[in-house]
């Protein structure tokens, strides 16, 4: 009746979205076409092959650890040895991620105070921020290859220091954001009482930003565990080196065990760290809810 006379509002035009979508698809197609050795024709075979290998990996994981794998040079070798070796190397990965995070936290914490607008003058802020950004832009693997491997040789210290230096950049940025986000009122109160710069920072800024910053350290530790697997490939310590060798040798059962160890340890550390972070940020009362 009257409803028909009232004009429905016109929907907004669709063509800008269509155009944006088509442009995107165009870019993707050009990108795909430019990769001339991409072997796209292999793509349909991929799922089958991956499933087959995944099945072999699962066999490795599910075999009784006391059994002896076939085709190995050492007849005494058992699946249990593979588990133990993977665990040991994964432990090394976790350890180097932890040390790296410690190095990052140790250096980024004081530096961040020189980069935050409420604790440092502009002359200091600009170079320190530039330093953070520059460090973040260099991937860990480059740091490891160019600086740390020549210094420390092919061992976990190189990986730890690469992760550590890289973490200074990202932790520094996050820490300085935390410092800038503090409530200015306590800072003003302390300043009004005649506090020096150090007293202001010590009594008004640090207590406010410390919990969040520590939570970020823990989060960064989780990220660094994943990064440490990569560093192993350039022999900078951890489980990556062996994983690289085993998967390249197509020893799927062994590789499956290694991947299982990585998944289990990563998830365990993530859970533990998430619970700790929750406890740090929300206090004891909320902990029960988190678990």
């Amino acid at each position: 009746m009257t409803a028909e006379t009232v004009a429905r509002p016109k929907p907004p035009p669709k063509w800008p979205y269509t155009l944006a979508g088509l442009t995107l698809i165009g870019i993707v197609l050009i990108a795909g076409w430019s990769l001339d050795d991409a072997k796209w024709e292999r793509l349909p075979l991929f799922p089958g092959e991956i499933l087959q290998y995944a099945g072999q990996m699962l066999d490795g994981v599910l075999t009784w650890p006391g059994a002896h794998p076939e085709g190995q040079a050492d007849p005494e070798l058992t699946y249990g040895d593979w588990w133990l070796q993977s665990l040991k190397l994964m432990g090394e990965s976790v350890a180097l991620a932890w040390i790296g995070t410690c190095v990052g936290a140790l250096f980024s914490f004081p530096l961040a105070f020189l980069a935050a607008s409420n604790t440092a003058p502009l002359v200091l802020r600009v170079p320190v921020r530039l330093f953070f950004n520059a460090i973040r832009a260099v991937p860990e693997i480059l740091l490891a290859v160019i600086v740390m491997l020549p210094l420390f040789g092919l061992n976990p210290m190189a990986g730890a220091m690469a992760i550590g230096v890289h973490s200074i950049g990202s932790l520094g940025k996050l820490t300085l954001e935390n410092i800038e986000a503090v409530d200015p009122r306590p800072v003003e109160a302390v300043a009004a009482a005649g506090a020096s710069w150090w007293q202001r920072v010590r009594t008004a800024v640090i207590p406010q930003m410390l919990p969040e910053t520590v939570a970020f350290w823990l989060y960064r530790f989780e990220v660094n565990i994943r990064a440490s697997a990569i560093l192993g490939v350039v022999s900078a310590g951890g489980i990556g080196a062996l994983l690289n060798r085993v998967l390249r040798g197509r020893e799927w059962e062994w590789g499956g065990i290694m991947l299982a160890v990585i998944i289990i340890v990563t998830i365990l550390v993530d859970q533990l760290s998430a619970a700790l972070r929750h406890r740090i940020l929300h206090g004891a009362e909320a902990t029960v809810v988190a678990v």
Binding site: V28, D37, E49, I99, M157, A227, A229, L276, A284
Partner: protein
Amino acid sequence: MTQATLERPSGQPRPVRPQQPPPSPLLVGGVLGAVAVTVVAGWAIDFSLAPVIEQWPKLAMILEEVVRPEWKEITDPSSRLWTALMETAAIAVIATFVGSLIALGVALLGSKVSAPPAVYRVTKSVMSVIRSLPDMAYALVFVAVVTGPLPGILALTIFNIGIVAKLTAESIDAVDPGPLEALDAAGATRWQRARAAIVPQILPNYASYVLYVFELNIRASVVLGAVGAGGVGQLIMLYFNRADYARLAAVVIVIFVVVIAIDLLSQLLRRRLV
């Protein structure tokens, strides 16, 4: 002058300043635990800074070459560097596009707002397993199947699905329930709800996550090359193994500039989006 108002009536004892509460046992335990973990970890990796001094000359020698990069590698557009860089860009673009598209679907399955409880639980736990493997592990498995850029694209795609799906699912959890209730009242199907009420609300956030993973992909594809999955990383390993530090330095400079440029660009776009 305020002294007078603050003066206490004589005879009353001076109040004692309240004592500082002792540090909580949890805090003490936490700090001690962190120290213990650090000591064990340091021992496990043979922590030592001595090599910094001992090996300094070796590093200085490398750095001396690094500060004199092979500029020809950068200025010559037909050099290996530019070919590899184009490959890296193409890998990142394809992986971001495909990964993000799939991730949108996965995110809809992984939020309790848009999916039935059983589906949502299964999706969430599968995603957390997928995310717990580093992108490198996928690349290593895929490289064993085929070589070239394809394994890199696939590894990054999986990696992108993990990140974008998680972030988008969290955005979906937080959508305004008003439009959803309106659609429910009008008898909409799940697909109609997603299409008309959820996707329009999360689109800006989703777009910003896509840009964010694109940024990550450029960095990650540098890494992927190191296992033979194509791109700039392969070039890095090649020059490193040949100890051709002048060319390596040229590659590093270009990566540095590209990463910073893409960071700035995507920050700019993301700020406009959200």
